[in-house]
Amino acid sequence: MQKQAKFGIGIGIIVISLGFLAWLGYGESKTYYHTIAELQTLSGTARAHRIRVGGTVEPGTIKRISGRVNFVLAGEGKLLPVSYVGSEPLPDTFVDKSQALVEGSLENDGSFVAEHVQAKCASKYEAAPGGDPQPDSAKPGKT
């Protein structure tokens, strides 16, 4: 019985300390996903969270200014001005009409400052007649 208790304590310590670490990491990295329409209705602390938004890049809005890239994301009929300030170069797939996912925070004026941008090309070839529409998977490289 005493042995069992010893094992119990050992296991308990490991699980609890790892759980604590998980909780710390969760607090540090949790990111709320919102749609563009939801962003405009957020208030209070919800505006201060780390936020992730997805949308389509409005054609012709990508403006590269030194140190940042400005563009407009569209979704559900709403527009969101985004300013990308990250150091990584934008992905090759980031072009007009591509689907983009930006991560960062909401500014007081309703614009969005992004630190990360992921993008996926809008499928150039629409569904071939008779064939299935064949959107690439989100991460085309990873089969």
């Binding site: 042995k3 069992q4 010893k6 094992f7 050992g10 296991i11 490991i14 699980v15 300390s17 790892l18 670490l21 998980a22 710390l24 990491g25 969760y26 540090e28 990295s29 949790k30 990111t31 709320y32 996903y33 992730r52 997805g54 949308g55 590269r64 200014i65 030194s66 890239v69 979704g75 150091s87 990584e88 170069p89 934008l90 090759d92 797939t93 689907q99 996912l101 992921q118 996926k120 090309c121 150039k124 070839y125 071939a128 007649p129 008779g130 064939g131 299935d132 064949q134 959107p135 690439d136 998977s137 989100a138 991460k139 085309p140 490289g141 990873k142 089969t143």
Partner: protein
């Protein structure tokens, strides 16, 4: 060929259905002819799947642009090498490829054991056929790769038409790793079906003893080895292709491949408890069930975009089938367990905190905690939406916080576990086994601290690496010394002889050594640096000891793409070293571009140079350079792991003499008097 392929798949489905139903009938009636026919139906299923796969490959090679899947994933100018990769670059093809690899395993198992284990094999055959039925259902009725392009003709009837050329393969997939990475990972995923089928079959049949474990050990090792290679090749692909300077980003798809690896690794270790001491039977059965379910979940995550959908990317309905299958598998496993749980009663109890058993126990515990952490982090967006309504995702800090300490604990156990005795280890043997390793580990700590390593985890990691290496080295040294004292052969020859006498044990040490090398590489990540700069011909960029001098550009039209290269001269410590050519490729067919990273790799560090596009203001080209210490050790470690696994699969060279009384007692306990037993102990630990 498309019609041929479709029919082959349909027939395969029917054969699998027969193997399943006939197999159950065979189990119930025990009629030998039924047993035989069910087995042969299983073999026929595999043959038909081979034919279907071959016909899809043929369609790619013959540029058959009336088949929808071929149009979507190939074009005429695509090299033959990548036409093979195109087979698994999309949904339909990769599901067929799953069936194909599974068929390879099933075919081998049914053939190898056709006249053996008569009580068990019908059950195994039924389970295997059940899994095949699921994938064949997808191949036939949900995501057929043989769909043709058709359009309504003037008279209203559908008419097949042919496109002049295909849409081409995604540039990201046009890399050599992408031709070998998916087959490896998939072989790992599918391979775990075999131990799963044996475990479930043995449970259903109430098959006596631990025989199913002996039967599946090699299959499990093979699957595990493929999976390890698959994960590392995937990491290498991400490193060499995606151009962000890293190899692991805790992306859902990466996590999906890691999950079954974690439980599979736990399973490989904990079965030894069952073999040796008749313990952990319930645990083992559930570990292998879980591993199989995580393989299915991994396929689900990669194929359906369940998690990516949270990132607002495309979603596919195929996920529902997988969820349904997972629920079914779980239900079957659960019922089988509840009905037969008395058969899994443990024969022994844990004796001591410091024993081989407890080291396995803790190894399993933390692997499982890691698995749960990765799984919950990956699925967090899905669950948080169910429970709280808001979709919350967690990122790298979450995964790192949990998994770095876990990794270090595992590394520690890698060194300690194999040297602890079963049941109970004496303080004396602890001193003898761990004195030197501990001392050398601490010494390393001091040295690297003096050399400026201040990152806590990296410091601990490097200390542990030396600690584990020393314990493994001492094991080889002791054993080889004994053999040498008898045979007089050279030390190296004695070490090889030692390994070949007990391949399982010493192969295991080699695998552990590979993991140590991988950890050395991971420890380097804390010291990654990068620099980015607008460049003109003649301008330079300094990073670490290196200086990059941009000499100019060239541009070349290849068959399938146009490439634009930077010509960069690399200087190290003010001496010219070599040329690097970071490159951007533009693919005409699908108007996408790709990056080719130029890497100068040494054991000390990787110089990783990316042509990062043009600066929007000045139109000046931008270089993004990274200096990543020790990365090469990861890939080397991978090779060592594979080598070690191959060694464990070899049969022992000669019949092993067992000294009386030795097995229960660790030889290391009394290395002088019992020394021969180090080398000659029975081959199972």
């Amino acid at each position: 060929m498309d019609v041929f392929g479709s029919f082959a798949l349909l027939l395969a489905f029917l054969c699998a259905a027969y193997a399943f139903v006939g197999g159950i009938a065979a189990i119930l009636t025990r009629h030998p002819l039924l047993v035989k026919s069910a087995r042969q139906a299983g073999i026929a299923t595999c043959g038909l799947i081979f034919l279907a796969t071959a016909s899809l490959v043929y369609l790619f090679f013959s540029d058959s642009y009336w088949v929808s899947y071929v149009v979507s994933h190939s074009n005429r100018d695509l090299s033959n090498f990548y036409k093979i990769a195109a087979l698994w670059s999309g949904q339909e093809g990769s599901l067929l490829f799953w069936s194909f690899l599974l068929a390879v395993y099933v075919f081998s198992v049914l053939l190898v054991y056709r006249n053996k284990n008569g009580e068990l094999m019908p059950y195994v055959g039924v389970v295997l056929a059940g899994v095949q039925i699921f994938f064949l259902t997808l191949n036939n009725f949900v995501a057929s790769p043989f769909k043709v392009l058709a359009a309504p003709a003037a008279n209203g009837a559908l008419e097949i038409f042919t496109r002049a050329d295909g849409n081409g393969l995604t540039p990201l997939l046009q890399y050599p790793e992408m031709v070998i990475h998916p087959p490896n990972l998939y072989s790992g995923y599918t391979g775990f079906t075999i131990p799963f089928a044996f475990a479930l079959g043995a449970l259903l049949a109430r098959y006596p003893g631990e025989k199913w474990i002996h039967l599946t050990r090699k299959w499990t090792m093979i699957a595990w080895c493929f999976q390890t290679m698959g994960i590392l090749l995937g990491a290498h692909w991400a490193y060499a292709v995606l151009g962000w300077g890293g190899y692991w980003g805790w992306d859902p798809v990466e996590n999906a491949s890691l999950l079954p690896w974690l439980t599979g690794t736990a399973f490989l270790h904990s079965v030894m408890m069952q073999e040796k001491r008749g313990m952990m039977k319930v645990w083992n059965v559930w570990l292998v069930f879980t591993t199989f379910m995580l393989c299915i979940l991994g396929t689900l995550l990669t194929r359906s975009g369940v998690v990516s959908s949270v990132h607002a990317f495309a979603q596919s309905s195929i996920g529902n089938y997988f969820v349904g299958f997972l629920v079914l598998v779980f239900a079957v496993c659960f019922v089988a367990y509840v009905k037969n749980r008395d058969y899994l009663k443990s024969e022994n109890q844990l004796d001591s905190m410091i024993s081989r058993e407890s080291s396995f126990l803790f190894n399993n515990l933390i692997l499982l905690v890691s698995c749960i952490a990765v799984l919950s982090g990956t699925l967090f967006p899905v669950f948080s939406e169910w429970f709280s309504g808001s979709r919350i995702s967690v990122g790298a800090p979450f995964f790192n916080k949990v998994n770095i300490p876990i990794g270090l604990l595992l590394l520690f156990l890698t060194g300690v576990g194999p040297l602890l005795a079963w049941r109970k280890t004496s303080t004396d043997s602890l001193k003898r086994n761990f004195g030197w390793p501990l001392l050398l580990g601490l010494f390393t700590g001091v040295v690297v601290f003096v050399f400026g390593v201040r990152d806590f985890f990296s410091l601990v990691c490097l200390m542990l690496c030396v600690f584990v290496t020393t314990t493994i080295g001492m094991e080889f040294f002791r054993g080889a010394r004994v053999i040498r004292s008898r045979s007089g052969a050279s030390f190296l020859a004695s070490a090889v002889d030692l390994t070949m006498r007990n391949t399982r044990r010493y192969g295991g040490y080699i695998v552990h050594m590979g993991m140590v090398l991988i950890f050395v590489g991971l420890a380097g990540a804390a010291f990654n640096r990068d620099a980015q700069k607008d460049m003109q011909p003649g301008s330079t960029l300094d990073i670490g000891r290196y200086r990059l001098l941009l000499q100019g550009f060239d541009s070349k039209a290849e068959k399938n793409y146009t490439s634009e290269r930077m010509i960069v001269e690399v200087w190290r410590d003010n001496k010219p070293l070599m040329m690097l050519y970071p490159e951007r490729r533009f693919f005409q067919t699908n108007e996408q571009s790709g990056t080719m990273v130029a890497i100068y790799s040494t054991l000390r560090e990787d110089l990783y140079v990316v042509y990062a596009g043009q600066n929007p203001d000045t139109q000046a080209p931008v270089i993004h350079a990274y200096l990543n210490p020790l990365v090469k050790w990861i890939w080397l470690g991978g090779l060592v792991v594979v080598l070690g696994t191959l060694v464990t699969l070899l049969p022992n060279r000669r019949a092993v003499l067992v000294l009386a009384g030795a097995p229960e007692r660790s030889a290391a306990q009394q290395p002088q008097s019992l020394a021969p037993s180090v080398a000659l102990r029975e081959g199972h630990d």
